[in-house]
């Protein structure tokens, strides 16, 4: 590929520059003036129109490069990196998204492509799609079976968060490879596993509360649905917070009128004289 325009970031400043996407590496012009071989790349993240590459230097240190360009250029670069980076990579079929927010995606189909597990995320790349699932957004992994052409085949099911929605994707490949990939992903996301002692702290009611939060219910709705007094729901929230199963997104205030407030309302309701 010939040189294409791009913006490159260094020390917090963006410089209008050019990049050359080659077969073995990418040449980053001013201000870097460096060739980054794809084999040295250990991570790739895409945030809007920006790609963040992390490469290992000869002295074993890691260096981050941020590249902004048009979608077409970023797509070509992403594919090159995914196919050659220093990562666990397999050829497989994937379906993503298959389920979104609990609703089956009716036009979901299996795509043939590559799956690459980089430092912070899993990438699915096919002719048509480039999908990234950050490892920190992986909610659950499961080896399960799925019917394809009247055969029940082993697949990995990945539940992950995408813009607040829970999305389910499937990976299909020969069982031996699937098992290796599954173990690799389990290991990469093991900090999210619940320990037995943690599970012991969650009773059936806490599980119901968690399910309602998942469904998008607010505090008032949960209190009403489960007929829970606020103090009990707060105690369950504390348990969920302690186990890092939830985050606080807003603190609501319960208030009552002061005498001044009561006077204000009383006066406001008086008919005009």
């Amino acid at each position: 590929m010939a040189e294409v325009p791009a913006k490159l970031e260094k020390d917090g400043s963006w410089v209008t520059s050019r990049i050359d996407i080659g077969n073995d590496g990418i040449i980053l012009k001013d201000p870097w003036n460096v060739t980054v071989s794809y084999r040295s790349i250990i991570d790739l993240q895409k945030r809007g129109q920006v790609i963040i590459l992390v490469a290992t230097m000869p002295d074993k240190t890691e260096r981050q490069y941020k590249i902004a360009s048009v979608e077409k250029v970023l797509a070509i670069l992403t594919k090159k990196v995914i196919m050659a980076a220093n990562a666990y990579r397999i050829m497989a079929h994937f379906m993503s998204p298959a389920i979104r927010g609990g609703v089956l995606v009716t036009d979901a189909k299996w795509e043939k492509g590559a799956i690459s597990v980089l430092k912070t995320g899993i990438w699915f790349v096919s002719q048509e799609k480039q999908i990234s699932v950050p490892l920190k957004e992986v909610a659950s992994l499961e080896l399960t079976k799925r019917e394809l052409q009247k055969k029940k085949l082993d697949v990995i099911k990945i539940d992950h968060l995408e813009s607040g929605e829970v999305v389910t994707s499937f990976i299909l490949c020969p069982l031996s490879t699937l098992q290796v990939l599954y173990n690799f992903l389990r290991d990469a996301t093991k900090e999210m596993d619940m320990k037995g002692s943690e599970l012991d702290q969650l009773d059936a009611q806490a599980a119901q509360v968690a399910m309602l939060i998942y469904s998008g219910m607010d505090t008032k709705s949960i209190e009403n649905m489960l007929n829970l007094p606020p103090e009990e729901l707060n105690a369950i929230y504390e348990t969920l917070l302690k186990l890092k199963l939830v985050d606080v997104v807003m603190v609501r205030k319960e208030v009552q009128l002061t005498p001044k407030g009561v006077r204000y309302i009383t006066d406001a309701l008086k008919p005009p004289s």
């Binding site: 609703v103 019917e147 829970v166 309602l212 469904s215």
Partner: protein, 120 residues
């Protein structure tokens, strides 16, 4: 907005769906705790849409779906099942289901799916 019948054997799920659907402006015209009652209530209430659990006692969701479609070929039924039972999807779609929801689900997506099916 539609008149909806919820068929699910667990009170918790019925209550959750009722809350989600009501918040979307839909009217819950009835609830049933198994497929058999669901079919009876369908005849009686003629809802615009049914949300149907798959695994239920007496008559399961697929049988109830078939019975409802036998009564009314235009019936709009969305199946609702737990994770791991997705293999039922093909059977349900073949039997006439218009959509499929997998538990646990998120309210906005459920409302979107219900809206799509009602509008179709």
């Amino acid at each position: 907005m539609g008149r909806i019948l919820i068929v699910d054997d667990t009170l918790f799920m019925r209550t959750l769906l009722k809350n989600i659907l009501s918040s979307g402006g839909h009217e819950i015209v009835g609830e049933a705790e198994d497929g058999d009652i669901g079919v009876t209530k369908y005849k009686e209430l003629k809802p615009d849409l049914v949300t149907m659990d798959v695994v239920m006692p007496k008559m399961n969701g697929i049988e109830a779906l078939k019975a409802i479609k036998a009564l009314d070929t235009n019936a709009k039924v969305i199946m609702c099942t737990a994770v791991g039972q997705e293999q039922m999807v093909k059977l349900a779609i073949k039997s006439g289901a218009r959509g499929y929801i997998v538990k646990p689900f998120q309210a906005p997506k459920v409302l979107e799916e219900i809206g799509n099916v009602l509008g179709a």
